[in-house]
Amino acid sequence: MSYLKSLVRTPWFWGAVGIVLLLALNTFKDPNYLAIGVNPTTGLLSGNILDILRVSAPIIMIALGMTFVIATSGIDLSVGSVMAVGGAVAMETLSTLNAPASPGAMFAAIALAVLLGAVLGAVNGFLVAVIGLQPFISTLVMMLAGRGIARVITGGQNTNATNAPFRELANGQVLGLPLSFVLAIVIVVLIALVMRRTALGLMIESIGINPQASRMAGIRPRPILITVYTLSAALAAIGGLFTVSEVMTVDVSGTGYQMELDAILAVVIGGTSLAGGKFSILGSTIGALLIATLNKTVIFLGVSSAATPAFKAIVIIVLVLLQSERIREMLLGRRSRRDMTIPPVTNPATRTEEAVA
């Protein structure tokens, strides 16, 4: 019982419930929704679930980077554009090298894309940490500039290329799972290890909660902020690679379009507060999976494209409301002891503790 209680309080719980409900809804419409088949020509598995996992990979990447930016109480609006930049660099590199079977060309494309992404992120970080611009403004500028850079790279074309190894990123499978999804999870685990095994995660949270006190405790915020924005953009570039490898074309105006909003939603659903502070990597990953499930569900249910944003909005608002302790207490008819009007400064240790993943 108390285990169940603490599970309900876990920030990502309602995201997971949302995924299950959406899948149940789809299965209700088509009992074969969850079925997994084998494609006779390629020998690969296919099915709706695998589709969802594949399209979730880029969202997981940008949500992961966004988690740390938001934890420092910043925001990164440029991730969608940086995805386009990453995709453009990769496609342009591959079409220039014109080596359809070369793994070397693939590695070159990946390296250049991630490198340019990281540079753009470092610029964001510099504007925020050194110049002191607001994150919203700095990354808004980069969001506009990013699309322009992508266009310059491809000369305004929607460049396509042929490279079998690169195409495998999104279309290949490992143990029956989409390769891009497996790579995304590996990256999530690696970064989670870096965050929690070093003190980087702690310092990010500390800066997000109280930057002034963190400085007084001897933490230098600048290198940490620059690291966080650089990481976010590098991950966005990887997300761009996953996206373009699906169709081997970069759409300079469409790739990653408005994906920054998906990333922010995934982070919020995952339980990281937009005010900064404690972050949950697992939560953001589940949030990203939910967004992917939602995107696929909208198509599957045949929701008219005009109504799609409204449908998404309703699902998300319900989730966010369920996460709010206040709403839950209201629904359960319990009275609230929470002090809503006064900042908790001199309050003795009497308040119920919030669960933090």
């Binding site: 095994r197 070093t198 003190a199 980087l200 702690l202 310092m203 949270e205 500390s206 909660i209 109280n210 002034q212 006190a213 963190s214 400085r215 007084m216 405790a217 001897g218 933490i219 230098r220 940490i224 502070g277 404690k278 009275r335 002891r337 002090d339 009007t341 006064i342 900042p343 908790p344 400064v345 001199t346 309050n347 003795p348 240790a349 009497t350 308040r351 119920t352 503790e353 933090v356």
Partner: protein, 511 residues
């Protein structure tokens, strides 16, 4: 003598939080035209009682009566509607609005086309005038006046609703003596007009200066209600902490002032250190194992000097030597690297990281010193956390609890642990005993003495001159952002002699 009907009364109230009985059968009454002090250590239940009275918390049993009629508060708004107004420790005003807007917020005078600002400001001026604040321009931005005046504006705001009951929760904690005097004038004026005032403060002098009656709480229980004239300080303190005060007294009288060789190389020596707008160029030497007191009023430059020594602010004149070597300390990080630690007077903004646990808050500075790559090993963290939580008996004894849930005194203990964990050579303590209870105060004073005996140099800053005199070997006196004197402590140095130094160097203005 028969007492008149109380304006507000709390009768046998209990409030239970998960695992804690915050208030246990507590009664409290506020008579018209009196200042009633609510006293108790941190965690005694003062805040909880105030929050019950202002509708923030709901009571489990007992009754709250206002003007003799039972009330069931469901929100702060319902308490305000019943005529209870509150001014909290931290000023809750909007600094970007004008003074008048703040005073009248929610009670603006409305005309046929929305708010009539001219009349609203005129009304604000009338209310301010009634408080003896007629010299303030209601149209000036709130941020243009001092914190003390803002506090008074907050009280004016409470008076707009014509409240009969006014709760002042630690209104004086950020005021200097002059400002306290102004505040007390206003309080007396309100009291004489029949308002019942609940006053909470940690400063005993102020309690005796302003209150007519004292109610003491301890551990959520009612200890007693007394007339201020019938309860002397020693009695009051022993009722608050539930034991006699021999230990506290012993500390002051027995502290031996060692003969110190001041020709040795100082741990820290600053020449002409200063910063425009903060501190006039000042010299200071601090020797090993010495406790140096910084005495002065709020705003005298005592905090500014400590911040320059630590590197929290950058000095724009002067040179600093640590152990005889010339250094530049341009950031807190650089200060830490040179073995300097600074425990801030502003715990909320510069000290605690609210959502992080006690454990993380204690180890934060040590971790920052090592950089983010080298995480402090778990075993070392556990050892440090156990050491300092035990040494200061931090309550609750649960290192995983977020620090924001702790009382002010316990937060202070955790922060002291944070700085001691860095094993500094020089510890700068800025108002370490402000806003905390008597027991913790004695703990901290004792710790300072122990640390100095162990060879650490300590700078001790406090508004309470008695405390500075009791602990320090040498006292640096500041006034108006300038060092005005320095005395070696001895039998003839008292709080009074320090005050006279401060007073003597001004143009006829005394503290």
């Amino acid at each position: 003598m028969t007492d008149p009907t109380p304006l507000a009364e709390v009768r046998n109230v209990s409030i239970t939080f998960p695992g804690v009985k915050a208030l246990d059968d507590v009664s409290f009454r506020l008579l018209p035209g009196e200042v009633h002090a609510l006293m108790g250590e941190n965690g005694a239940g003062k805040s909880t009682l105030i929050k019950a009275l202002t509708g923030v918390y709901r009571i489990d049993s007992g009754a709250i009566l206002v003007g003799g009629a039972q009330q069931h508060f469901t929100s702060t708004a319902s308490a305000q509607a019943a005529g209870i107004s509150t001014v909290y420790q931290e000023v809750n005003l909007c600094t970007n609005l004008s003074i008048g807007e703040n005073v009248m917020l929610g009670h603006e005078v409305r005309g046929w086309a929305g708010i009539n600002w001219r009349r609203t400001h005129a009304e604000a001026r009338r209310v301010l005038g009634g408080m003896g604040l007629g010299h303030l321009d209601p149209r000036a931005p709130l941020s243009s006046i001092s914190i003390a005046l803002q506090q008074l504006v907050a009280i004016s705001r409470a008076m707009v609703t014509e409240s009969k009951v006014l709760i002042l929760d630690e209104p004086t904690s950020s005021l200097d003596a002059q400002e306290v005097a102004t505040l007390f004038d206003v309080i007396r004026r309100l009291r004489d007009s029949g308002v019942a005032i609940l006053f909470v403060s940690h400063f005993l002098d102020q309690i005796y200066a302003i209150s007519d009656r004292i109610t003491v709480l301890r551990n959520g229980q009612f200890v007693g209600e007394y007339l201020t004239t019938e309860l002397d300080r020693t009695q009051l303190i022993s009722k608050m902490i539930g034991k006699d005060l021999e230990s506290l007294r012993a500390l002051g009288s027995n502290r031996q002032v060692a003969e110190r060789d001041r020709t040795a190389v100082p741990v820290m020596s600053a020449d002409n250190i200063g910063r425009k707008g903060a501190l006039a160029p000042t010299d200071i030497d601090i020797h090993r194992g010495e406790v140096v007191g910084f005495a002065g009023l709020l705003g005298s430059g005592r905090t500014e000097l400590a911040r320059l020594l630590f590197g929290a602010d950058r000095a724009d004149t002067g040179t600093v030597r640590v152990d005889g070597k010339k250094v530049v300390i341009a950031s807190p990080r650089a200060g830490l690297a040179k073995g300097i630690a600074y425990a801030t007077e502003n715990r909320r903004d510069d000290g605690i990281i609210g959502d992080l646990s006690i454990r993380e808050n204690i180890m934060l500075a040590v971790q920052a010193q090592r950089g983010w790559l080298k995480r402090v090993p778990a075993r070392e963290v556990d050892r440090l956390v156990a050491t300092y939580m035990e040494r200061f008996s931090v309550r609750p004894n649960d290192p995983d609890r977020p620090i924001r849930l702790l009382s002010g005194g316990n937060q202070q203990k955790v922060l002291l642990g944070r700085w001691l964990a860095t094993e500094p050579e020089l510890l700068l303590l800025d108002e370490p005993t402000r806003g905390i209870d008597v027991g913790t105060k004695a703990d901290i004073q004792e710790t300072v003495a122990e640390l100095a005996e162990g060879g650490m140099s300590v700078v001790f800053i406090s508004s309470e001159l008695e405390e500075v005199v009791r602990l320090s070997e040498r006292i640096v006196i500041l006034k108006d952002r300038e060092k005005v004197g320095e005395v070696v402590n001895g039998p003839d140095v008292t709080a009074e002699s320090i005050v006279s130094i401060i007073a003597g160097t001004s143009e006829g203005e005394s503290a």
